[in-house]
């Protein structure tokens, strides 16, 4: 409870205010991206690849069109990618000697307040992206409006589950190239092999085990089963449990790394 109470204390909202103030400059562009992104996927994967896949009528899709199958996965994987990008580069920069975290740390803000304020910003950004993405998808009839709010909630949980550990790590990073390496060798493989574009049941059994272990698969599978109405209580519990552990560990470590970095 201590952590939660601190998360919503006034100082954290001041840090959120800082990021929202900056966001005023870029919000229009970001909304265009949030709407354009699903449109691109709907076109390329619905009219293009989807037509090809649906012709085969794969049993792995359990009777869903490829587009209906893939959209929740793309939303969740996209949210993860955005969460990583927003919680890595900007955090590293902010923690540098001329960064905004340093300015905030010289005011009454504590490192934990800085962390929670920035986290709230990532939550708002993920919510915005997920809402716009699902709205566009609903418009094209690929997401059931009744299940759309649940899909948004899953997306936000996934965003926090990735943003918290990413920030915990990024605050200790000193070279931008380290973030590129992490993106290329961890985030992109996750994006490709966590069941985003295809059911992992198609993979050889050994690779399926790897996929089950990856955090993104839990997010993708949770989002997809919720969106398609095929969720089982047992599956939902495991997925939410896995992602929640990431949140808790991520925040625990981030509180320590933030303090260590900002209070040298």
């Amino acid at each position: 409870m201590h952590t939660l109470a601190r998360a919503f204390s006034a100082p954290a909202f001041r840090e959120l205010g800082y990021w929202l103030f900056r966001y005023r400059r870029t919000w229009r562009g970001s909304i265009v991206i949030s709407i354009g992104n699903p449109l691109l996927f709907l076109t390329a994967l619905g009219l293009g690849l989807g037509t090809l896949v649906d012709r085969e009528d794969s049993a792995y899709l359990h009777g869903h069109s490829y587009l209906t199958f893939i959209l929740p996965g793309i939303l969740i994987a996209g949210v993860m990618q955005t969460a990583f990008l927003e919680a890595s580069g900007p955090v590293m920069q902010s923690a540098m000697s001329r960064g905004s975290y340093r300015a905030a740390a010289s005011t009454p803000l504590e490192p934990a307040g800085i962390l929670y304020g920035h986290l709230m910003y990532w939550i708002l950004r993920a919510t915005q992206n997920a809402v716009l993405f699902t709205c566009v998808s609903m418009f094209f009839g690929t997401v059931d409006p009744a299940r759309a709010p649940l899909l948004v909630l899953v997306a936000v949980l996934v965003a926090v589950a990735f943003a918290a550990p990413a920030a915990a790590w990024a605050v200790t990073v000193t070279r931008p190239s380290q973030i590129n390496v992490m993106f290329r060798f961890v985030v992109l493989p996750l994006y490709m092999f966590s069941g985003t574009f295809f059911p992992i049941e198609q993979l050889p059994v050994s690779l399926q085990w790897v996929a089950w272990a990856t955090p993104l698969w839990h997010g993708v599978d949770l989002g997809r089963t919720v969106a398609l109405g095929t969720a089982t209580p047992y599956g939902v519990l495991i997925h939410i449990g896995y992602l929640s552990v990431m949140v808790v560990i991520g925040l625990y470590v981030a509180r320590r790394t933030y303090r260590r970095k900002l209070y040298v």
Partner: protein, 317 residues
């Protein structure tokens, strides 16, 4: 000597060791220093690079926990009440943390929000502070268009947004041209007149002499002297200094000839300094010895000479 209402900063046995606790290879940046800063005074920490000035400043700014010793600021313990202390401090760091994506005024507004001030108060204060730091015309410009001196003034304006009781300035004029420095000193002097307590680090003698009522000289993490600039000069130096420069080939011979002509002699890489009570007399003595310097200059002793006497090194090494 002083009561707690007038002593704003009280450091006793203050130490800062970088590296993990118990780590033998830890680096001691501040090695047990004691000092007090009183309300309304301009207090300087003078020292060469690496003397421990910035580490001391960061501890006082409550963003660096002391390894040992006690540090009380505004009556609070720096470790337990950091947030309360920071609410009443203004910080001008060595590396300025101005946000280059915001305008000049926005930088003041958004920084002020960190102190929980209302937009109304901030709009009024930002206008006043931009005027004070002579940046009104730049209010709506991007930070990128500011010169080095303007950026530093913006950092000072920002540090004043919460109307702090103590302003910490870490090498405020390093890297600025002479004109920008003089404007900055003039503004700092005004702040001092307004009753704000200033604590600044510097490795410029003229800066310390101009602004500081009292200062400590730091060397290798320790305080080696404390007092008002004039007191320190009187205590550690003779009245005048004769500075001699020689042609490169003759240096050693000429230096040897000068030995014994002054009470104290310091050899610097580029010149020879002779401390004396009467520079002109010493210069005559030098000439009588057949020493022919390229240039000879008699000047009043300064803090630079205090530092040289105390540490055997020049400040700007």
């Amino acid at each position: 000597m002083t009561d707690s209402s007038t002593v704003l900063i009280d450091a006793q046995g203050l130490r800062k060791v970088y590296g993990r606790p118990g780590d033998k290879a830890g680096f001691t940046a501040v090695d047990g220093i004691d000092f007090q800063v009183r309300r309304g005074e301009a207090f300087g920490v003078l020292g060469a690079n690496g003397a421990g000035k910035s580490s001391t400043m960061r501890m006082i700014a409550c963003v660096s926990p002391p390894t040992a010793g006690s540090l009380r600021i505004l009556g609070y313990d720096s470790g337990a009440d950091g947030a309360k202390i920071r609410a009443r401090l203004g910080v001008v760091p060595q590396d300025d943390t101005i946000d280059t994506e915001l305008t000049v005024r926005e930088n003041l507004l958004i920084y002020g929000r960190y102190f929980g001030l209302s937009w109304k108060v901030l709009r009024e204060r930002s206008t006043r502070l931009l005027e004070f730091t002579r940046l009104s015309e730049k209010a709506d410009d991007a930070v990128a268009t500011l010169s080095g001196g303007m950026r530093r003034r913006l950092t000072i304006a920002r540090a004043l947004i919460n109307e702090p009781e103590i302003v910490l300035l870490d090498e405020p004029t390093t890297g600025l041209d002479p004109q920008a420095r003089h404007l900055l000193w003039e503004r700092l002097f005004q702040l001092k007149q307004d009753g704000v307590t200033l604590l600044l680090t510097t490795h410029y003698m003229d800066e310390a002499e101009q602004i500081c009522d009292r200062l400590v000289v730091m060397d290798a993490g320790k305080i080696v002297a404390e007092g008002a600039p004039a007191e320190l000069i009187a205590r550690y130096t003779l009245r005048e200094v004769l500075e001699l420069r020689f042609a490169p080939g003759e240096r050693q011979i000429m230096t040897d000839k000068c030995r014994g002509l002054a009470e104290r002699m310091e050899e610097l890489p580029d010149r020879l300094l002779l401390s004396t009570d009467n520079g002109e007399e010493t210069l005559s003595a030098v000439h009588r010895q057949g020493v022919q310097p390229l240039t000879a200059l008699v000047r009043r002793s300064s803090l630079e000479d205090v530092f040289l006497t105390l540490t055997g090194r020049s400040l700007l090494d």
